[in-house]
């Protein structure tokens, strides 16, 4: 993969994610973790190579089919990417709204999920007034509300303290137990060693798969 006419950011990257698996995506800054995630959530097309998602070859899939595939993927962005002009509730409900779910039903779902992540009192608040941890939870709620088959998180613990980071990881594990395949890009060595999931190690544009280790939790 390359951006425009720049150098290849990723090359010789080969891996398969088993359904229901949990991986940490690790590697030094600039190794291409965010670029790999961008390829996986279909925001960028590979300049060469093959990506198969949900048994579909992305390179040959018609553009009109991509939204349906994207709805099976939940994404937690490093910088949250919440819409400041919408309420917390509307931010979380957005994936259901674009999928065409009736307004009443999607509001019920969003309210229930926000209560579950501890933001029941902030449903009508604007994201701008929330703390980093609260924004993170809103971003995660938005990513999981449509029960995605694949959840991609880019440094989800980068803006929160260790206690909240731990809680978020437990939340991801709960989702994983419900069958969601999870890939989390992180630099947090403590969490990686604590949870011991398999690792996709990315360095110099190349990827190495490391198996799961014994968890210390």
């Amino acid at each position: 993969m390359r951006y425009g006419v720049g150098p290849e950011v990723l090359h010789d990257v080969n891996f398969t994610l088993a359904p229901g698996s949990f991986h940490f995506l690790v590697g030094p800054s600039g190794a291409g973790k965010s670029s790999l995630l961008r390829l996986m959530y279909l925001a960028h097309k590979p300049s060469r190579g093959l990506i198969t998602l949900f048994d579909r070859d992305i390179a040959t899939a018609p553009r009109c089919d991509l939204p349906e595939l994207r709805r099976k993927i939940g994404v937690v962005f490093q910088e949250f990417r919440l819409l400041d002009h919408l309420s917390v509730l509307d931010n979380v409900a957005l994936p259901l709204r674009v999928a065409g779910m009736p307004e009443k039903q999607l509001r019920d779902y969003a309210e229930e999920l926000l209560s579950w992540v501890g933001l029941a009192d902030h449903m009508q608040s604007r994201p701008a007034i929330l703390s980093g941890g609260q924004k993170q939870r809103v971003a995660i709620a938005r990513a999981v509300i449509s029960r995605p088959k694949l959840l991609l998180a880019d440094e989800p613990t980068g803006n929160v303290d260790d206690k909240i980071a731990l809680r978020l990881l437990y939340l991801f594990e709960e989702l994983n137990k419900l069958g969601t395949t999870i890939v989390i890009a992180t630099h947090n060595e403590a969490l990686i060693s604590r949870f011991g999931h398999a690792q996709l190690h990315l360095e110099n544009g190349e990827l190495l798969v490391r198996p799961a280790t014994k968890r210390s939790v």
Binding site: A43, R70, R81, L83, H85, V98
Partner: protein, 303 residues
């Protein structure tokens, strides 16, 4: 087709403030052009109806001293020449009536130029005879003039065709200009909406990218832009139409106060007002369609 809520923060865009005024200006200009065209069309129709099936015979006043002319009649007394012409005209097949205009009627006709003084009475004006023809009479103005001129030298027949032809040419020219104005206005409206939509797409690129990532179809995003374009277009169209209506009514009132015989009533009827009212709606719909096409074409280039 219509979205009442928007996931895109379009309400805060600067375009929201000035697009209605641009649309209002466009609608105002187009409405004036069309209203002028309608009023002119009505005037021509009135003139055409009034003049078709009629002719005007002009009998110039005799030149003193009297001279012997034609087949032995003596010119000098115009009343006799008019009587002769009337007799001939009334005997002509196809002529329903022939009526000489009185001095008073002549004075009324000349009033816009000469005023209402006694000057008209002193001028050697030609006598005018209003000739009404039967429907499909097929009276030839040239032939009638030859016959009349033989009996009443100097008499001419005018079937108004030349004048009407020139008038129709003028009206067609004005129609072309008005059509060009409407096309230019539509073009300007389309260009404005394209520019504003592209600005919006660029301004909200991040949000659009996010909506794509969470699975939004291009149509979902386009609906939000087109709804905004429709709403702003309707608002601007209503303003432009209201201003144009005030202008048209005002001009009509000014024209009627002139009381001129030359100017036809510069007003338009209820059906024409209804047709004009479609204009702001049409402009708003064009704006909506333009916004949609612009968004769909731009988003089609994204992954």
């Amino acid at each position: 087709m219509f979205e009442t809520r928007s996931d895109l923060p379009l309400r805060g865009d600067a375009s929201r403030r000035f697009l209605p005024w641009l649309v209002a200006l466009n609608v105002y200009l187009a409405a004036l052009a069309l209203a002028g065209l309608m009023a002119l069309g009505d005037a021509v129709s009135t003139w055409d109806k009034g003049l078709t099936g009629s002719m005007t015979v002009q009998i110039p006043a005799p030149v003193a001293p009297a001279s012997k002319i034609g087949d032995g009649e003596i010119a000098g007394d115009n009343d006799a020449r008019v009587a002769k012409a009337l007799e001939l005209l009334r005997a002509t097949p196809g002529v329903a009536s022939a009526q000489a205009l009185s001095r008073a009627e002549m004075a009324t006709l000349m009033e816009p130029w000469l005023g209402s003084g006694a000057l008209v009475a002193e001028l050697p004006l030609p006598a005018l005879v209003d000739v009404q023809l039967r429907p499909a009479a097929g009276v030839n103005a040239g032939g009638l003039e030859s016959v009349l001129a033989a009996a009443v030298p100097g008499a001419t027949v005018d079937d108004h065709k030349k004048w009407l032809d020139r008038l129709v040419l003028l009206v067609h020219s004005v129609e072309l200009v008005a059509g060009a104005v409407v096309l230019l206005v539509a073009g300007a409206a389309i260009a404005t909406v394209i520019f504003i939509t592209r600005t919006g797409l660029s301004l909200h690129h991040e949000v659009i990218s996010l909506l794509h990532v969470i699975g939004a179809q291009d149509d979902y995003i386009a609906r939000q832009f087109q709804s905004q374009a429709l709403a702003l277009g309707l608002k601007g169209g209503a303003i432009g139409f209201a201003l144009a209506a005030v202008t048209v009514v005002g001009l009509g009132m000014l024209a009627s106060r002139l009381g001129s015989q030359l100017l036809p009533p510069l007003s338009i009827g209820p059906l024409q007002w209804l047709a004009l009212a479609v204009l702001p709606l049409g402009v708003a719909l064009i704006g909506m369609a333009t916004a949609r096409v612009t968004v769909m074409r731009t988003l089609a280039r994204l992954p």
